[in-house]
């Protein structure tokens, strides 16, 4: 029915203004190898708890964000501009 997502640029907004892309993973180097790329494109963790996701403030400032969302409670712990990068999560 309703929920809010915080945008670091625009503040708290209804989720309808956003588009979610999924896990915020670091894109591998082009020569990182097939296995690494298969991981990046297809494999996802499915944690209960904190999860970093790419969200796009599509009907707002149109910035891509990295949103740290709890998958069980939907509480959003952090939201930052995607240009700040995401950490390397898998070897």
């Amino acid at each position: 029915m309703a929920s809010l997502v915080s945008c670091p640029h625009c503040g708290s907004r209804p989720k309808e203004e956003f588009t979610v892309k999924g896990a915020a993973l670091k894109r591998p180097a082009p020569d990182a190898g097939q296995e690494r790329w298969m991981d990046y494109v297809y494999l996802r963790d499915n944690p209960r708890g904190a999860y970093e996701e790419y969200w796009h403030h599509t009907s707002g400032c149109r910035r891509w964000l990295v949103v740290t969302r709890d998958t069980a409670t939907h509480e959003i712990a952090d939201s930052r501009d995607a240009a700040l990068g995401v950490p390397e999560t898998r070897a």
């Binding site: 809010l4 625009c10 400032c61």
Partner: protein, 176 residues
């Protein structure tokens, strides 16, 4: 074809202004809208301030992006001059025909817009001069508080009629 009489057709030319005690809706003249895109890391604020001091209306759009808007159309040379002034730290893209502006004014304007937008538009939270892009119903629009009880609403041209119809419906209870 020098004799051909080119006709400019405003997107909202079929809409009558909506006037009610609580709220009025007016289609603003299709003058100029320049999308300003700053180079990353550049700070064009001094340049934008200069433009504002010369009477240009500058609206914040997003990080590193602004709109310069006005009721007067810009001739080719005036547009070129303005675009040049934005360089080297920013580029402009002409959106004078791509965006349509509607003025919503009246004591009920916050209440009308709250029917479409989840943005907190209370005067204390959203001061005069502030801009943002938000969904109004199903249509994204760029809104600027231009007075205590007035917002300029800028929308993609293709959605202008639809947004107008939605705003008129949202305003209807405040008529008469």
């Amino acid at each position: 074809m020098s004799k051909y009489r080119l006709i400019h057709r405003p997107a909202l030319s079929d809409k009558q202004p909506f006037n009610a005690s609580g709220i009025g809706l007016t289609a603003l003249p299709e003058g100029h809208v320049i999308h300003v895109l700053a180079e990353q890391g550049a700070d064009p604020s001094a340049m934008l301030k200069g433009l504002a001091e010369q009477g240009h209306s500058v609206r914040y759009a997003a990080p590193g992006q602004w709109y310069i808007v006005g009721d007067e159309p810009l001739a080719d040379d005036a547009l070129a001059a303005l675009l040049t002034r934005l360089t080297p730290h920013a580029e402009g893209v002409d959106q004078s025909h791509g965006r349509v502006r509607i003025l919503a004014r009246g004591p009920m304007v916050e209440r009308v817009l709250a029917k479409g937008s989840g943005t907190d538009l209370a005067l204390s939270a959203f001061v005069v001069g502030r801009s943002t892009t938000t969904l109004i119903g199903h249509i994204a629009a760029h809104i600027t508080r231009v007075e205590d009880h007035a917002f300029e609403i800028m929308v993609l041209r293709g959605f202008a009629e639809s947004l107008w119809d939605d705003l008129a419906q949202m305003s209807a209870e405040f008529a008469a």
